[in-house]
Amino acid sequence: MDEGFIPYQQSLEDEEQSIKSTQSVIEQAIAWFRAHSMFVLAYGTGCGAIEMPPTFTSRYDIERLGVVGVATPRQADILIVSGYCSPKTLKRVIRSYEQMSEPKYIIGLGSCTINGGMYWDSYNTIKKLDDFLPVDMYVNGCMPRPEALIEGFVKLQEKIRANSSEAGYIQYRTRYAHYRANQERLFGTQVQPRYEENFAGMNL
């Protein structure tokens, strides 16, 4: 299988491990802290939301890895899009992602975020999350077990420590026109405020 999702996932997982050696000590330290303290905005878009409570509570206790749930996008580092996304939900997901502070990452949870999953022919769910938002890690399955989610977090930690220039939030900034075009194509006239227009780049 040379095409499709599996090689894409491969490319997400083992990406530029070599970069690590070229970083300065301070950059490595910063990356270490980022990787070991992940504030998660768990957006329960679909049925994947049901797998997150066990992940966060006593049975699987993901707090061991430094993962904590937060309520607002302003404080979050990682956005989990859990399951199918209808266009109405996607708008809110995008808004939440844009309100997060950089560096920020997205985990797509479940088959629906990858290729529509069992809703592949539904008129009201999107089929590819990475058309609209830069996904840093996919966890597939329907639904993925908490173990799979933890595995996804571990892989994401490696990716954060690699401090790649290909990280999703950088892509979202540099290739914003591409993502915006896809969003506008889906949402028609009812579109979100533009990402660049939300901020004045001044330092107060």
Binding site: M1, E3, G4, F5, I6, S86, P87, K88, K91, I114, N115, G116, W120, D121, S122, Y123, N124, I126, K127, K128, D131, L186, F187, G188, T189, Q190
Partner: protein, 178 residues
């Protein structure tokens, strides 16, 4: 309770606890009013719609529940597919407002007197209402969404699982045999 209904209407017994009766669009409000005042069926618990495209009609089902929540009565009302307005029940039952809003979005049925018939679950929808049977879901999906490369949905799942199991078995046996 039942005696009143038996007396005045042609009741259809579906199950011991579920009854139905047919009303016309014009009779609907009056019948509902009579039933709610004379019997204990006082709650509108569901509002459904069936698209009988072959017979060119929608059948709306107003499901009433009694105070004990033990019996259900469905008022069936057929309307022509091209003449798609109904009187709103929002004044009789507050919960009808949101149910009618949903039917409006999914079937394109208008409700006179309901002020909230704007976007509900679908924002900015400008195609045929999606629950009407002439709406072609697959065509819509193909037109509006991109599929990921490499997805193959046409596999016969049972066959495929059998095949993979056999492959795994043979792979296991080969090293042990070798």
């Amino acid at each position: 309770m039942m005696s009143y209904l038996e007396e005045h209407y042609e009741l259809i017994h579906k199950t011991p606890r579920l009854f139905a009766l047919h009303v016309t669009r014009e009779q609907l409000l009056d019948t509902l009013h009579q039933i709610t005042t004379h019997t204990s069926f006082d709650t509108l618990s569901q509002l459904t719609c069936t698209d009988w495209i072959e017979e060119e009609r929608f059948e709306l089902g107003y499901m009433l529940t009694n105070a004990l929540r033990s019996h259900n009565l469905m008022l069936k009302c057929s309307i022509a597919r091209d003449k798609v307005t109904m009187p709103s029940l929002a004044l009789l039952f507050a919960q009808a407002e949101v149910m009618e809003r949903e039917l409006h979005e999914m079937f394109g049925i208008g409700f006179e007197g309901n002020e909230t018939l704007y976007d509900f679950a679908l924002e900015g929808w400008c195609d045929i209402p999606p629950m009407r049977r002439e709406f072609d879901t697959l065509a819509y999906v193909n037109a509006h969404y991109d599929f990921r490369e490499g997805r193959e949905d046409n596999l016969d799942v049972k066959e495929e699982i059998k095949k993979r199991k056999a492959a795994a078995k043979s792979a296991k046996e080969t090293p042990s045999g070798a």
